[in-house]
Subunit: 153 residues, 2 copies
Amino acid sequence: MGPSFKFDQMYFEDVVVGEHFIMGEHRLTKEEIIDFALAWDPMPFHIDEDLAKASHFGGLIAAGSHLLSLRMKICHSNGVSPNVIASAGYDEVRFNAPAYAGDLLTLHVEVLEKRESKSKPDRGYFKLDYRMLNEAGETTLSHTDTIFIRKRG
Amino acid sequence: MGPSFKFDQMYFEDVVVGEHFIMGEHRLTKEEIIDFALAWDPMPFHIDEDLAKASHFGGLIAAGSHLLSLRMKICHSNGVSPNVIASAGYDEVRFNAPAYAGDLLTLHVEVLEKRESKSKPDRGYFKLDYRMLNEAGETTLSHTDTIFIRKRG
């Protein structure tokens, strides 16, 4: 599918199980990590560079909810889809390796499955596996997402 | 355990399986929903009141990553814990009912299990079930969280 994959033009019929592609990338900054954490998750290792260096992480790391929000932002960088109805939910959300200030994060996606809705003929759902990798190839965040989307018809 | 439960004074030994309590509450505002979504998840029903009213949701609703961030913020409203090491991850994240502008959301928590670490004697983990309810008693967000925490010794 590759980088030409566009969420904003996609319907249920366009989802192909087994395909994998890169949704986009984002370089984390110290300022972004601190700003997000001050608002939502003010743990010392998210908001204070000195305390973070002295912590078990050894440096400033992004909050988990920051990485989940960033995952969504990167998806939208390919265009906001008018056909996505909602997310049913995420499974197996894992904060595998810390994401540090300065890290370049790349979002990898694989289509795990798709099914037509039994109760509503105008839609179906598909399940994606998301993995956010740093430059060393380590996974920082991973989870699946089950998304309801309209059919073209 | 009740509202006197304090994350900021808690060690592994203080976690009691089966206890449930209310962590806090938060009233969602239109401005907060739009500000969060413009930064992280700019779907029409998160950022535009008129388009949201015309959508299948019938009104402005909070982004899923907003609710996950808010869940964390409410936890910290009882004090940021110096003994929490990290979250291993979330399971069964469900966006059950939409959370609308004006909703008063209350965060309910239940302790599902706790275990000592086999490899590291200074810590253990516990698994929590979070449910964020609106005033009608509907669950808007639910998920479990597995948290590593230090022992007192």
